[in-house]
Symmetry: C2
Subunit: 440 residues, 2 copies
């Protein structure tokens, strides 16, 4: 039998401790699957004293991550510290330069330094596995990198942030405001004290940049992703979506267009019949459209210690089996640079919610302004105001009435030109709400 | 650059022709992903003259499958003829004995000869890849074999036959009978002239046996699967399921129990909230319950030329990359023998639909008989007969009234003992309908 794979782990939070535990409890199954044992030989973390509920006897406690990465007794360096810079970056670089295998769950680091790290792995004959970085235990990296190796990908999109999906699900099911749901999510530990990274879409953008690279052979770059968060979504939008046969989800979408690869994160209307629309709460999901085949959707836990550790250990097992994959599925010199696609040139259907001052005149004006921009209307719904009382206001004018439009596919700049004209016409109050529609 | 992988293909139906086309059209991407080219060098099929829409110039036309498998110029033998015996079996054996890699989509052959073929692959240093055999382009084999390598699997279940799901979907949505839907499915080409293999559950059983082996390290054996088809399902069951918060699906279920691994295929009530319950029409889906992590569900096309070819080419790409996997994830000598679990000892909830002769007396009798078997009732629904007319029959008796029960978890033999007693009591007419409930 081949000598066991010797693993060093930097970072012993919930995930790291669970990785140690899994390698121990699943050792027989792992040996059978890999043809060799897997043994944790070195670890480090910020606090040595912290109780972790795993047995670390017989494992070297290294002074810092670099010491684990550089330990000649470590074949496979597992980085579970997180953060898009030090000390994770230097430790991973050191391990890769020594030709070692690296396993990480660090999406932020990959979204920023993925290409240079992949180049290091290639140059020194090492590997860089990161299944846990996107969708935790959902095997989306393996599916894009290996399972669809012979299939041209046209689009990959998904719910990549559990916090946002939890908030949108509760807003929809309980007709609550974004602010109330966010507060609840914070209280329950689903959202951070500073929620911006999640609710403004940045977490999704990092994961999307990785998926886009795997799907389209682009250089992973968070800067190439258009990002909008969910804070502008109102219960009225979720109600209208329901009535029109849609759901609103924060999606990361990477799609091949005639103008290149478009990467975007934004609240999206998706048909209720799609697999993705069924995904509720903190669950994540990714749909992959391959050329000539119906969509493939992977659904599961996108976070959590056990789910993340499951993916980390699978990556380690691939290393133990001797599988060497190119980190982004293709050699770095074949990866194409990609820039941020201008959203004004985005093509698609749109949901538009306006507050009309006066219903009869407004509908005609809106229709005219959209027609001027050659935008066809698929449906138009005039809803009574939320309080269901279309009362006269104190000054004798009637209260604003919501008007909801669904357009056929058009250009985004045409939509905004039409809406600017409508605003100039002074037939609406407030800012129009615009949500992109993604067809399944 | 390494020499290209030389591929020989036996069987050029829709799938085979699409594999040839994909290898040609995706050649640049495949070279980048695999670090070497992939070239089809030899093919064979029943008819050389048939038009296939792919360019076979420059490819040797071999006289039979054995000639392809034995061709010293072929590194990777792709079997796409199907059938659980000859000529596929001998050709695959020949290729494996020569230490070659084999890729197949043949679930029937694997369910029957999987273990002996895996042993040949191991003994001669070859590989046997078969992602396309279960769920076509859905990467369920890779997910179980590699993606969850470090996770103990407790249950794997899914919709593995598109024909049955198509029929059940239409029965549910259009309130049609099984017979009418089957006829329609046959007319539309979704069901064979002899539909037994699909609708009686045998196709699902073959796929389940493969998944069970990957999930639990059992010896793949179709004979260890309990099988029931969907022909007994009535529109009344689907309507009742809907009312009670369930859907009826033909599921293949492999589950770890205290008594061993249970493998079964049968119509199943599953909660409408589960991912699997959302899967409609010919789409397939598999849910995997790993220890300590929320379920992972993979959804997609379970059949079709392009979807199947996608998986075949991914398997070929793994061979080209030099990845050598154990066919069932573990060495053959570690695979455990498995026998058919006696369904009378199955534990779970049950849906029971009875036709009561006289409502008041029957409900009391049923409750008593179930209580005698220590079966607790979760809910009981008394429905009016389908025609909604509870008319007196010609002889002055009232017409039978459907009574629907949902039980808490119990043993199957207890259910049948109770129902026998109810039948002896002569308070019902006809045979009770019993459907197992699977919790998510």
């Amino acid at each position: 039998m081949v000598a066991p794979l010797r693993v060093g782990i930097a970072g012993l939070g919930t995930v790291g401790a669970e990785v140690v535990r899994l390698i121990e409890t699943q050792s027989r199954a792992l040996s059978a699957r890999c043809g060799r044992g897997i043994r944790v030989v070195s670890v480090t973390a910020r606090s040595k004293a912290k109780k972790r509920g795993v047995d670390l006897r017989g494992i070297t406690w290294a002074k810092d991550p670099l010491a684990v990465a550089g330990d000649p007794d470590v074949d496979c360096f597992v980085e579970l510290m997180g953060g898009d810079g030090e000390p994770a970056l230097s430790a991973i670089q050191a391990a890769l330069c020594a030709g070692k295998a690296v396993v990480t769950a660090n999406k932020a680091l990959l979204a920023k330094h993925g290409v240079s790290l992949a180049a290091l792995a290639e140059a020194h004959g090492g590997t860089l596995n990161y299944e846990a970085a996107v969708g935790a235990a959902i095997p989306v990296v393996k599916t894009l990198r290996e399972g669809l190796a012979g299939t041209e990908i046209n689009r990959v999109y998904g719910i990549l942030n559990g916090t946002c999906n939890y908030i949108l699900t509760r807003m929809e099911q309980e007709a609550l405001s974004f602010e109330d749901c966010l507060k609840d999510a914070q209280r329950l530990g689903y959202a951070e004290a500073n929620p911006s990274f999640d609710v403004d879409g940045h977490d999704t953008a990092q994961k999307l940049a990785i998926l886009a690279s795997l799907a389209f052979g682009t250089k992973v770059a968070q800067s190439a992703v258009n990002v909008e968060g969910i804070s502008s979504i109102a219960p009225a939008d979720l109600r209208a979506a329901e009535e029109l046969g849609y759901r609103v989800k924060l999606l990361g979408v990477a799609v091949r267009t005639a103008k290149g690869i478009e990467q975007r994160v934004h609240p999206t209307m998706i048909p209720k019949s799609s697999s993705i629309a069924q995904v509720m709460g903190v669950t994540n999901a990714v749909t992959i459209d391959g050329e000539g085949i119906p969509p493939i959707t992977l659904v599961g836990p996108g976070a959590g210690g056990a789910a993340t550790a499951s993916a980390v250990v699978a990556d380690i097992a691939d290393v133990a089996r001797g599988v060497r994959s190119l980190p982004f599925g293709r050699p770095v010199d074949k990866l194409q640079p990609v820039s941020k696609a201008p959203m004004e040139r985005h093509e698609g259907g749109y949901y538009i919610r306006l507050m009309a001052r006066d219903l009869a005149g407004t509908a005609a004006t809106i229709a005219t302004r959209l027609a001027e921009q050659k935008i066809s209307i698929e449906s138009i719904v005039q809803r009574h105001p939320d309080d269901a009382v279309v009362a006269a206001s104190p000054r004798g004018k009637s209260a604003p009435v919501p008007v909801i439009l669904i357009t056929y596919a058009t250009h985004e700049d045409a939509v905004y030109r039409a809406l600017k004209a409508v605003q100039r016409d002074k037939v609406i109050t407030g800012r129009p709400q615009v949500i992109r529609i993604e067809k399944n």
